[in-house]
Symmetry: C2
Subunit: 178 residues, 2 copies
Amino acid sequence: MRKKSLPLSDVYRLLEPGPVVLITTADKGRADIMTQSWHTMIDFEPPLIGCVISNRNFSFGPLMKTKECTINIPTVELSSAVAGCGNTSGRDTDKFKRFHLTPVAASRVKAPLIDECYASLECRVIDAKMAGKYNLFILKVLKAWIDPAQKNPKTLHHRGNGKFMVAGKTVTLRSRAK
Amino acid sequence: MRKKSLPLSDVYRLLEPGPVVLITTADKGRADIMTQSWHTMIDFEPPLIGCVISNRNFSFGPLMKTKECTINIPTVELSSAVAGCGNTSGRDTDKFKRFHLTPVAASRVKAPLIDECYASLECRVIDAKMAGKYNLFILKVLKAWIDPAQKNPKTLHHRGNGKFMVAGKTVTLRSRAK
């Protein structure tokens, strides 16, 4: 595996910029992937994430049942897989095969990591009380991985209707924010 | 005002890319601004937003009391105000004055819009049940405004510790996503 362990205290840096992510679930040995943009950090450490997965998505069932998933962050090189995973359903498609993505065993959850993504988070659902009303799950990150070779990853950020903003340059401001 | 009304069905396009936002509140005629990145869309229409405002922030009190705020999206030209609003507290600072931002009366809430931001959303707290445990508020957007002159806004996306990714180019993928 090309990725190395990332301290949990650094996880917020990955999600705070708002990238499109690929979420995997696994049930009965069958793994699925969904493309997703509706997530937010909720706490730094342990890292808590608010994540919206609709009950219209195939992933909703496996997530409710297993209470586990992985969040993987793709870069622009994976654009066709990102769009493809969003256009198809796990009901009738093995997305790993169809979009040439490589599943890698996670350490703490049964859902696989996506090798081609530059970062991966192993997550457990710790609160599903808002799943009925808002499709909102509170996830706790148990383990984080990052590809140290990618210093300025060109993440994708969905602007609606197939338009994606590609991450531009990074600037440093006189900010005291964490 | 340079902004025009934006259909509520288009609001998700503004927040889904994950920009840093400036949130205003107002209590007893005193307006405050906070810099924030922890938000997610929760539903398309009416637009619902999950928004984390810590009880350590000055804005938490006014938001809990008035149940109203505005979410304003700045571009890179406002970098110093974005960093400044994050580095200071409404407890002892009038941030509109200090950072040369112009308050504009909103139509549905008492919190002011920020004229210099390219988009502004008037919001009401519809669910504060997660505010105690997760500092998480569910907001409903009542009215949305956008500056039609800014076609490809260079939004800011926080990567931690004062590093901000500036929105790059927009690409169109073969996506059937909304």
